[in-house]
């Protein structure tokens, strides 16, 4: 049950954050393609949560791929933040 809870909560929190960022499009903010990739990653993480109920190891592999997709958005942001400081 631990993998389900972990993947599920992470997918929801990350999905909410990305949805909030992407909804700024309504105010004229341009879309970051990596944010879209990461949003699909959070969706894959959600899928991994359900797979984990049946095949935990296969779910871990899906979750790892999803996490890498999500990192493609967060890693450059963190790097820029660190460089700015």
């Amino acid at each position: 049950m631990l993998p389900f809870v972990l993947y599920f909560i992470a997918a929801l929190v990350i999905g909410f954050h990305l949805y909030g960022l992407l909804s700024l499009v309504a105010y004229g903010v341009p879309v970051n393609p990596l944010a879209v990739v990461a949003l699909f990653g959070s969706l894959a993480l959600l899928v991994a949560a359900y797979i984990s109920l049946f095949r935990p190891r296969a779910a871990a592999k899906v979750a790892l791929i999803a996490a890498l997709a999500i990192w493609s958005f967060y890693a450059p942001g963190i790097a820029n933040l660190v460089r700015a400081r």
């Binding site: 909560i9 992470a10 049946f54 935990p56 790892l64 990192w71």
Partner: protein, 192 residues
């Protein structure tokens, strides 16, 4: 503000956990544990399904209602025909009447003086305001953009009044030249 940090923290945990489970071989005949759990039992799967249906239901209803309920502002300004000059609306004035709502749009009927006071609060959100000139019961749309634009200098602010803080909105009705002349007169050092 906490959401991005929480997202990154969870992402770090998920990455570490999924990498560990993916790449580390589970010893044969080892009992299931926290890191290498066995297949979830049926009651737990049912609980997970019910919990996720509940959570998705709440999220879907808030997403569907959200944009219409809180992010859009639909206001209809009715301005006297041939009116030229600044229009001002003061909100949250205690003794003033509330704004009427017609067809889901809040109606602000500006009197010939160009000043309207209301007890209703100011609306915020994605602006979908519409402007009309009125003469009796006849309404004509006033363009707020494009070549024949007649609405300029829209602004809102907050003022400290006798009854506390209150908000206001202002905009100019007229041609671009009239607006420029008015703006210059407003910012001139000796202007009243």
């Amino acid at each position: 503000m906490i959401l991005p940090f929480l997202a990154i923290a969870l992402l770090v945990i998920v990455t570490a956990y999924s990498a560990l489970v993916s790449f580390r071989e589970r010893p044969k005949d080892a009992p299931s544990n926290l890191i290498f759990p066995a297949r979830t039992r049926r009651p737990a799967r049912i609980v997970a399904a019910l919990a996720s249906i509940l959570i998705f239901g709440v999220i879907a209803s808030s997403v569907i209602r959200g944009p219409q309920a809180s992010r859009e502002r639909t206001v209809r300004f009715l301005i006297p025909e041939n009116y030229t000059g600044w229009v001002r609306v003061d909100f949250e004035i205690t003794d003033a009447p509330p704004l009427p709502v017609e067809d889901g749009q809040t109606v602000l009927r500006i009197p010939p003086s160009g000043k309207l006071t209301t007890s209703s609060p100011e609306q915020f959100g994605i602006e979908k305001d519409r402007y009309f000139s009125y003469s009796g019961d006849t309404l004509k749309p006033i363009p707020k953009s494009g070549p024949g634009r007649l609405i300029w200098g829209r602004l809102n602010g907050e003022e400290q009044g006798a009854s506390g803080k209150r908000t206001y909105e202002e905009f100019f009705v007229g041609s671009e030249q009239q607006y420029m002349d008015q703006a210059k007169a407003r910012t001139a050092p000796n202007s009243p």
